[in-house]
């Protein structure tokens, strides 16, 4: 069957089979290879994308059911002006090692900071607990998210953001 949807603001359509997930369609039908397939069970978050405004695992979305949906992926984040602030922060803070979890984490982080621009370290850790990373131990990742949050806060309000150091209790 053919499904039509909007991906990163562009209308797209694809011939899909019943067993296919949104992830498969993005990767194999539409050539958007940013979202990754690491577990196909919704346990790792590597395929995180936005579907009609919600952060979802694309592997758990039946492709046949995305008719008319709006999807945005990691490929839609950077602009002509350059990297999205979250992407910039991941690069600068060393949050990237092998990089397999990175696209999903970037999408999840951008969503988090849209929803909760004041997220604490604990909030960041909880919000990203569905995105497994095997390389970094998450330390640099949390620092990167906090840096992106603080940069956004500074851009709005020149007063320095509240120093929210990692809780050692």
């Amino acid at each position: 069957m053919i499904v039509t949807l909007e991906v990163n603001g562009e209308p797209r359509s694809a011939e899909v089979a019943g067993w296919e997930s949104l992830l498969w369609v993005l990767r194999e039908r539409l050539g958007l290879l940013g979202a990754k397939d690491a577990c196909l069970q919704g346990e790792c978050g590597s395929c995180s994308v936005m579907l009609d405004g919600a952060l979802v695992c694309a592997c758990l979305v039946m492709a046949a059911d995305v008719e008319g949906a709006q999807v945005s992926t990691v490929e839609g984040l950077a602009s002509r002006a350059g990297l999205h602030p979250v992407q910039r922060s991941f690069v600068d803070e060393g949050a990237v090692q092998c990089g397999y979890c990175t696209p999903g984490l970037v999408v999840a982080t951008a969503h988090l900071l849209d929803e909760r621009p004041d997220a604490s370290h604990d909030d960041i850790r909880e919000a990203l607990s569905g995105n497994l990373c095997r390389c970094t131990g998450y330390g640099a990742l949390v620092r990167a998210v906090a840096a992106a949050r603080d940069a956004a806060a500074t851009a709005i309000d020149p007063a320095p953001a509240d120093g929210d150091s990692e809780d050692r209790s």
Binding site: A54, V56, C57, L60, M62, D65, E126, A127, S129
Partner: protein
């Protein structure tokens, strides 16, 4: 594969009646795992996420399509607590209470709440509706009383909802984990106490003797709580599997139920 994407409830019921063996798709968080692992290749699917009637949440009726994300910020404390423990934020954004009921895992996280509150499961078909008490709907591990041609419309909660309610769940990770034991306790001002335990029996269960004991104690003493804990451990019927041993589950069920009750006792 055929897919129908009904836009409203009558259309959905007509579609389900017309292809009674079609697989019903809500959040997809259970179904798609089986599809991705090639354990299932549905020939017909009816996708329910566009059906607004299933998203209803009012007057003690929670539509089958209500997601964990909505429960997390909803008015029922125990439901909010349990929703926060389900999967990841990505799962909670799309996973539904109807899906949790339909999958009927012994470890399903909404089930202890629904069992403790004595919810009825509302089923619909093109021939009408019927309501089943939770224990008549959940008939075994991954087995329900849903018949071909039917769909879960939602759950009906009783009019009276105890103000004191608490949920707890044990897993061997700080997040994103399937329950090795989960538990919900509801307590009325008159002391009436309802307890439901998950992942410790073929389906979610109520330790009735423990409930009776707790209900008879307006301000349970430490001795009464000890006895409550012992009764819960005695009444559950867990198995050993790769997630935990039978002995551990039995022990932990008692501890967890007691602590959850204690939370309901704290002023």
């Amino acid at each position: 594969m055929l897919i129908e994407r009904p836009q409203d409830l009558p259309e959905a019921l007509e579609g389900i009646g017309g292809s009674p063996h079609a697989v019903l798709l809500a959040g997809g968080t259970d179904l798609m795992v089986e599809v991705n692992l090639a354990h299932r290749r549905p020939e017909a699917v009816i996708a329910l996420r566009r059906v607004d009637d299933l998203q209803t949440w009012e007057d003690g009726f929670i539509g089958a399509g209500v997601t964990y994300a909505r429960m997390e910020t909803g008015p029922l404390p125990a439901l909010a607590e349990l929703a926060r423990t389900v999967g990841s934020p990505q799962i909670r954004a799309v996973g539904t209470i109807g899906g949790n009921l339909g999958t009927a895992s012994p470890a399903g996280d909404t089930l202890p709440f629904l069992a403790a509150i004595d919810a009825e499961v509302v089923l619909g078909s093109r021939d009408g509706q019927r309501r089943l008490p939770w224990h008549e709907f959940l008939v075994g591990p991954k087995q329900t009383a849903l018949t071909p041609g039917e769909v879960i419309l939602g759950v009906q909660l009783p009019d009276h909802i105890p103000a004191r309610q608490a949920f707890a769940k044990i897993g061997t990770r700080q997040a994103m984990v399937i329950a090795t034991v989960n538990c919900c306790v509801l307590r009325d001002d008159d002391g009436t106490t309802r307890v439901a335990m998950g992942a410790v029996a073929p389906t979610v269960m109520r330790p009735r003797e423990a409930e009776r004991l707790a209900s008879s104690e307006p301000r349970p003493s430490q001795a009464a709580l000890d006895e409550f804990q012992r009764l819960v451990s005695a009444e559950v019927a867990p198995i050993s599997d790769h997630r935990a041993t039978e002995q551990y589950r039995r022990h932990a069920a008692g501890v967890l139920a007691r602590r959850t009750l204690e939370r309901c006792l704290t002023p």
